[in-house]
């Protein structure tokens, strides 16, 4: 049952496009609202940091051409949107003539991989722990253990990353400081390479999971408590259903729905937190790319990566929104 109405799908798609358009417009407008010429600002910062910039003339020219700074603003804006729509993100300034698309394209699988694995982990662990915290039959020792494990909740992932690096890489030397796989290794579908990727990925994933799952635990516990008071829970008990069945088919099944809605709303901050953790570990993902680009003052790469991040976020939200009606039979009810 359930299913998607056309209005629902259209609205979700509308929000998807709006999100991307609005974010890109903010990126376009704010630099131009500020006093002064963004190109001039860039160049002066480049000269500041490097003392002298090779090809600076050429870069400025490239910039002027790319932005068409002599054109009127609306022409610039239309061109900017057009370029984005065709995913033409320009050419890297620091790694000329590599295109931004290539740079981002290399990093994207790493980011998406790390993000999906950690997302599955903390969403699962968080909700499981939340459900257990609210369940009457959970042993109190387990409840205490869960509460203690939530100590990192709410701190920024990057701080957790620093602490983990300090403890497990610097002091104990169990895990590598930085990187995505062993230096010198060639990416290939070999057991050696894959195990290296996993080994290098543990600390970054752990940093994200440790600081995030607690939010889902708190939210899930709250929803579980709310659902517990519902009449259908009491009727479920009156039906003599087994406690565990009642827990997962009645209580968790209904409590998880708002959690999925919440997930859609927090994708933005999830992506942001992930980027920072990648930055701390100099991971090959988009976070690593951004850090490098910021150091090199590679504006096109910064802008392109950000745009792709916005795209990834909006797409994830769209997917979640489209999945949601399939798991909540009530969603089509709104038309009545």
């Amino acid at each position: 049952m359930g299913g998607l109405t056309i209005q629902y799908v259209l609205r979700r798609f509308g929000i998807f496009l709006m999100t991307i358009w609005l974010a890109s417009t903010v990126i376009f407008v704010i630099p131009r609202l500020a006093p002064g010429d963004p190109i001039q600002a860039m160049v002066s910062r480049m000269t500041q940091s490097a003392g002298y910039v090779e090809n600076s003339e050429k870069i400025v020219e490239g910039w002027k051409e790319r932005f068409g700074l002599n054109d009127p603003l609306h022409v610039q804006y239309v061109r900017y949107i057009k370029n984005l729509a065709s995913l033409d993100l320009g050419v890297s300034l620091a790694m000329f003539p590599t295109t931004v698309k290539e740079v981002v394209g290399r990093a994207m699988p790493w980011s998406i991989g790390l993000m999906s694995i950690s997302l599955v982990l903390y969403f699962f662990i968080g909700n499981l722990f939340g459900a257990l915290l609210a369940w009457k039959r959970t042993p109190s020792l387990a409840k205490i253990a869960i509460s203690i494990s939530m100590i990192f909740t709410s701190i920024p992932g990057i701080l957790c990353a620093i602490i983990l690096i300090y403890l497990f890489a610097f002091n104990l030397d169990w895990f590598p400081f930085t990187g995505s796989f062993e230096r010198g290794m060639q990416p290939a579908f070999t057991w050696e390479f894959i195990s290296s990727v996993i080994y290098y990925g543990i600390l970054p994933a752990l940093s994200v999971v440790l600081v995030t799952f607690g939010f889902w635990t708190i939210g899930m516990r709250g929803m579980m408590v709310t659902v517990e008071g519902e009449d259908y829970m009491i009727f479920g008990q009156a039906k003599g259903l087994k406690p565990f069945y009642l827990l997962y088919r009645y209580q968790v099944r209904n409590a998880i729905l708002p959690q999925i809605t919440a997930l859609a709303f927090s994708i933005g901050s999830i992506v942001a937190g992930q980027i920072l953790v990648e930055a701390a570990f100099a991971y090959r993902g988009m976070g690593g790319v951004i850090v490098a680009a910021i150091k090199d003052i590679d504006y096109t790469v910064i802008q392109g990566t950000s745009f792709i991040l916005i795209l990834i976020t909006a797409t994830s939200v769209l997917i979640l929104d489209l999945i949601y009606p399939l798991i909540d039979p009530r969603i089509t009810f709104q038309k009545n």
Binding site: D231, G240, N254, R330
Partner: protein
Amino acid sequence: MSESSVQKTLQVRDLKVYYDTPTGDIKAVDGISFDVHKGECLGIVGESGCGKSTAAYGILRLVQHPGKVAGGTVEVDGSNVSNFSEEEFRKIRATKLALIPQGAMNSLNPTMSIGAQIRDLILTHSGSSARAQLKERIDGLLRKVGLPLRVATMFPHELSGGMKQRVCIAIGIALNPSLVIADESTSALDVVVQRIVAQTLKNVQREMGVSMIMIGHDMGLMAQMVDRIAVMYAGKMVEISPTREFFNNPRHPYSKVLIEAIPSLKERKPLKLVEGITHDPRNPPPGCIYQLRCPFAEDVCRSKPPVWQQLKKSHQVACHLIKDEDHVAA
């Protein structure tokens, strides 16, 4: 017929349900005792907060926090279930003691189809051997309560209040329980639908010969539906009587108020006003629980709680004002 020859489906003795509050326990149900005979329909009436629903949930061990069953025994079909473990008690829920909740409320799981919510009940108690005739059983149940078979694939939000209520009845009677407790089962329905659902309920009960407790506040509905009526006030049972006798000859002053308060559709009468002072439930007065509202209260009512008296025609009442000549010989 004598008391002993009647088979008892349910025997409740001195049931107590208390609510824990920071300022002391509220005695929501304070030591009530009654029986339900085989095949009989007993109505429990009273106004909001009198403890009638709480008593039902106490019998079913479904009292929610901060409430707790604080004492008393419950016997079902002659066996004392009060000392059953949680797991033992779970097994007699729906098979011996079933609940029909208010279907208009949120009593059905919104994320499961109606069929699935009947199925899980049958499979839990009858094991997987029941799987073979599952569809026929579900269809049979839906037919019995007058629902079209397509309801099985529908979700609660797609049903009207009356249909949901019938689903609740179907679930309540699914496993041929000894006793069903219908808690305000038709209260939220419009009058025409209420009549249809109530009649369905009554027919099903008669056909199956199941015993029933009907909890409600609508005296008219009770007159139509039940064989005996029990009246509760402030956690105590004050009167139990066969329905006809109850309406013809109510003995407790509170029962009289309840009957007089029913607005008639037959004749226009002057309104009967009653004083509505109630006591603080944490701090009941000594003596009779009804003394503050009772226009006939005497000194003895203020000092001594009334005892349960057996009157003629299976009529029982707890009131000091009942005179001796009405008593059955001891």
